[in-house]
Amino acid sequence: MLALIDVVLLAFLAVTAVAIVRLRDLFAAVMVTGIFSLLSAGLFTVMDAVDVAFTEASVGAGISTILMLATLAVTQDVEKKRWRRRFSPLALGVVVVTGAALVYGTSDMPRYGDPDAPIHHYLAPHFLEHTPDEINEHIPNVVTAVLASYRGYDTFGETTVIFTAAVMVLMLLGGAATIDRRRPGGGRMGANVVLRASAKPLVPLILLFALYVQFHGDFGPGGGFQAGVIFAAGLVLYALVYGPDRAQAIFTGRRLEALVALGVLIYGGAGVAGIVLGGEFLDYDLLAADPQDGQHRGIFLVELGVGITVAAVMTTLFLLFTGRGQPAPWEDRVGESEGTP
């Protein structure tokens, strides 16, 4: 049964991938990319990677798509026709050779789903067996345990990656737009009563759900990253329906920048606390009298840091991209908040 779903999803994925290459309407291509991500999220669920599926659904099908649409809104949404470039023999050659090499490489791989594959017998059993005694018996989600504690350093790196992206996009789009390309009809959504009425109850519910995902990550799929994205989705919905101006009245550029940094600092702080208390960086054992409590506290702090940074970064990105069509609301806001002591 699962194998059947697997095959059907893979076939759908192949079809959407081909459609992505062929579509010249960028709007449609972006939407199909969103579908591609959603299908892969389904496939990840089938393959038991529920946390990855959750993240892919919220990031790939959610935030990435929104960012791409925002980009199209301030640029162009049709790929130009260039017949001579439609088919590229060179590219096809490169791809075929690479693909053939990779398929050659698969020939010594363990079969799909093989329980005897080396990776299931070396490190994974340790994580599965020792998470209850080394981390905390109340954290049944092994992925969270590995993510936040055993490989917490990677996750700190991951948080820094997303922080880096925010800094770079702020640097690129934070200034005034060189030209005003505001599209007619954009921003008129706010006038729509039905949208307002239906969004009003949803926004708090989405934010509540984000908090649930944030704090439920120890027990089930979820955690700081997914929660941050969902929280940002709530804010994005608010900004879409009520206009970015009202969203920016709450989250000025300066405040968002501070929040973006705050999450990384919380994470780093939890790590440095380990050093100060006499252990190693990111050693949570020492954060409480009992190592299990310490691990729990450490994971909580770290996930909180990730959640704050991700939510702030995603909101920042959205406001920067959509604000691009208008004459620099961002810079003004920054200036204002700088002016007031």
């Binding site: 009809g185 008129r188 959504m189 729509n192 039905v194 949208l195 239906s198 969004a199 109850p201 949803l202 519910l205």
Partner: protein
């Protein structure tokens, strides 16, 4: 679970799938924007609701059912709102019916 409940759940899911299939066909075959929207808007209301109901019956009285009901509520709010927003935006951008159809309308009016 009794046979009746089982049958109800499967019937509901099958009906839901049928609706989804028909709406998919509708999007492909219907001639223009507004009529296609008729098809799609049914997807996230009737189609999804039937499938979710079937799943909820399968799950019985559990946390999963509560979650499914939440999902259904969410879809019931967002689906129609999204369809509405799409139509409204199309109307704002003066997207009219395709030329052929409008001409026929015009001809009819002239008579």
């Amino acid at each position: 679970m009794s046979v009746w409940l089982e049958a109800l759940s499967w019937l509901s899911m099958l009906a839901g799938s049928l609706v989804l299939l028909v709406t998919g066909l509708g999007v492909l075959t219907l001639p223009e924007y507004y009529s296609r929207l008729h098809a799609t808007s049914i997807t996230d209301t009737l189609g999804a609701a039937l499938v979710l109901f079937g799943l909820a019956v399968q799950a019985g009285w559990s946390l999963a059912t509560a979650k499914l009901v939440m999902v259904m509520l969410f879809l019931m709010i967002t689906g129609p709102a999204a369809s509405h927003a799409l139509v409204k935006t199309a109307a704002l951008h003066d997207l009219s019916l395709p030329p052929r159809r409008r001409q026929e309308d015009g001809d009819a009016g002239a008579d």
